[in-house]
């Protein structure tokens, strides 16, 4: 993994970030304040980004690449869309990492530590909270729907299997 501070003069990355719902929705004055606290990280294929059980609290925004999400070695999801957020649950409820996230190919992501919102002040802080928690909620709602669909599918499969075993 290689990490460099985000350079606000890096127009190419900035343009990509502004295509993401979260940074695209942020007003021009607030964006540099938030991005000034961000780091860019590049992971090679098969590197682990988040380890289940760890207690680090950074949130990640995918710029490029694809990651797998697994719990106890079982693959539960993938992260592949530009702007996909992961690791936000640590910020939300400060619990240990519930899953392992691994790079399936080279991955570029933007990283913010959990304290970044606390370092903002006044209306900037509230506006960042409103925006980030809204995006987190949307991401979580979409993942819950995926998870529920997967649960239904697994229920059917389990039923088929138990029928076969008779």
């Amino acid at each position: 993994m290689k990490e460099i501070p985000f350079d606000p003069n890096d127009r190419e990355t900035l343009t990509r970030l502004q295509q993401m719902p979260i940074f695209g929705a942020m007003d021009e004055e607030r964006l540099p304040k938030v991005l000034g606290m961000a780091m860019l990280r590049r992971y090679e294929k098969d590197e682990t980004i988040i380890t289940e059980g760890d207690t680090d609290q950074a949130v990640y925004f995918l710029i490029m690449g694809r990651c797998s999400v697994s719990i106890e070695g079982v693959n539960v999801n993938a992260i592949s869309e530009i702007g996909d957020v992961f690791g936000e649950m640590g910020i939300i409820d400060q619990k240990p990492r519930s899953a392992t996230v691994r790079a399936e190919k080279p991955v570029l992501c933007l990283v913010l530590d959990s304290e970044f919102i606390e370092r903002l002040e006044g209306v900037d802080k509230l506006a960042a909270e409103a925006l980030f928690y809204r995006i987190f909620s949307e991401m979580l709602a979409a993942r819950i729907r995926d998870a529920n669909a997967r649960i239904l599918y697994l229920e059917e499969k389990l039923e088929e299997c138990s029928m076969d075993n008779f």
Binding site: I71, E72, M89, I92, A99, E129, A130, S137, A141
Partner: protein, 163 residues
Amino acid sequence: MREVPFDPANDDIMERLKSVPAFDSLPESHIREAMRAASIRRYEAGETIIQEGEFDNQVFFLIFGQLKITVQDTEVGQLKRLGDVFGEMGIIDGSPRSATITTEKTSLVISLDDTAIGSLGETSKIFTQAVMYRVFAEVLAVRLRGANQKITEMQTELNELKE
């Protein structure tokens, strides 16, 4: 159902709100500001609060009482803890109601209307949204952890059956 606007001078309600896990880290002034678009509803036993399949843009916080969640007439859960949140999915993604919520006992809830939030001034709106979305994210994170855990268990069981 009887509905009254949220009265920030009502100390009893404020005390209860302050002990809601999602609100307990917030200064009272923030809670008051965030609740400007809120109203309080009292339901008798057997009333329907949310109807499966309908579209509306309200989110609710339970103050007291007991609620039953049903999907296609099958009970899937209950809500009875102070601060339990329900109806948030409609605000988050504009989807139709995925379940029906009815009261099992007399219940008091706070309702927040997304349209009313939109009509607040810019600063109040940001206040309310900051609080509301933070609560949503917390509730949804708990649910997602639960769902992922269930997937892991089921997948493991399935793998064992296939061996």
